[in-house]
Point group: C2
Chain length 256, copies 2
């Protein structure tokens, strides 16, 4: 039943939040889930978000198997909403369905990672370019404020969150729902690779400069420059990622 309205942007969109009052108690005689914050969200929706967060947070790692029953028990819902969530995550590319074995957290091989960055370079560039054309002053201000609030080389978690905020704001500033949706999906897939490259390669300072470069071009309403700046940013991120992956090949392999 009550299922929050969903449009093309599944991520958030910063709706005023309030929502309709939403009746306090859940429907079932004995609502199992810890009195979480979303009374009006359907179980399917809720499960979807929970699993997504778990993947983002790295609690569920690539290759790991997900059993419907186990998950249902763990989240204290029935299989039905779990199935719905799994299907949606599969559509997002975060899960892979293996016949007769069920869902598995997607594993990205080298080729997939290359394709992912290639795609992101194009779309991130497009987003920045469009933002230069279409962003409202308020949106530009928001981006500026976000960059100013950069947490610097501190908590990797905060760094990742901040980075996500910056890019998410940039995506929205492009004012293209399809672009927004696609970039969000790509970002999610990136999470499968583990922690951001920022905190792992000491790139946070450089990244901030690159962010400022993008902002600068947007402020100047220079579409071409914004696109190039964004593409450069992603290429640098890719370089860092590749270094990380090759290092990892040496370091991680023996482990386990």
């Amino acid at each position: 039943m009550a299922r929050g309205s969903k449009k093309l942007n599944p991520v958030d969109g910063g709706r005023g939040g309030g929502e309709e009052a939403a009746r306090p108690s859940a429907s079932q005689p004995s609502d199992p889930r810890p009195s979480e914050s979303r009374p009006s969200e359907s179980r399917g929706e809720w499960t979807y978000h929970r699993l997504r967060e778990a993947i983002q947070a790295g609690e569920l790692k690539p290759g790991e198997r997900i059993r419907e029953i186990e998950m249902a028990k763990r989240l204290e819902v029935s299989r039905t909403p779990v199935r719905e969530a799994l299907r949606r995550l599969e559509a997002d590319g975060l899960l892979t369905f293996v016949p007769y074995r069920g869902m598995v957290i997607a594993e990205l091989d080298h080729q997939a990672v290359m394709e992912l960055y290639q795609m992101r370079e194009v779309l991130e560039g497009t987003a920045a370019g469009l933002a230069a054309r279409h962003a409202s002053e308020a949106e530009i201000t928001l981006i500026r404020d976000l960059i100013a609030a950069d947490p610097g080389d501190g908590d990797p978690k905060a760094l990742a969150t901040h980075n996500r905020q910056f890019h998410g704001t940039l995506y929205r500033a492009a004012h293209n729902r399809y672009l927004l949706k696609t970039l969000n999906v790509l970002s999610d897939a990136m999470a499968l690779l583990g922690m951001t490259t920022l905190s792992l390669t000491g790139r946070s300072g450089t990244a901030r400069q690159e962010h400022e470069e993008i902002l600068s071009a947007i402020e100047a309403r220079d579409q071409a420059r914004a696109e190039q700046a964004a593409r450069h940013h992603i290429r640098e991120a890719q370089r860092a990622r590749l270094r990380l992956m090759f290092d990892g090949d040496r370091a991680d392999t023996p482990q386990d």
Copy 2:
């Protein structure tokens, strides 16, 4: 259960299939499972494809409501697989969920159409550019043959099919799964607009020239030119679409 393996490309072009290839009617409480020619895709999968085709074919028009029970009865399956199919179509952007009213075939407003074409221009250009770099000789030959097999100004249905084949082949030739998936989704969304612009604006001849221009650039392995040619192609299609929409505003409005 048996659910055919699904990869990152749920769409692809392999739909050469015949209309109603008989649903996997097997497995009813008393059915010896007639050895179908396939591992028999699951009902959910089957339902998904059927609904998708129905939308593509225009049997289900934008704004139309889809009731789970009605659909289940019509396709002779239970609500469960129907629900799965509906969720997937929603993820593809072909359906919109309206709280307390269920699924509705997505309607694209003017803004959405603009965004769609904007996005397609970027990605189609990217695909052509990548194809120029990565397409195998076999793939290039396939594209060449397809263009040669252009049905010309005849049956609109054949024209649409051929056009889809050409573009689908181009997408695959880019060798990027994320790009492929996204372009397929965008193409599907286009189907919501109704028949191709080709058959409705007498653009088929021009389109063929544009296709040849793209091919030429790919054969020459000229990435930049391929990208530009593809972008030009989409821009022209967009122009045709806009003309059509404005004409439609005058002609269709009174109807109904």
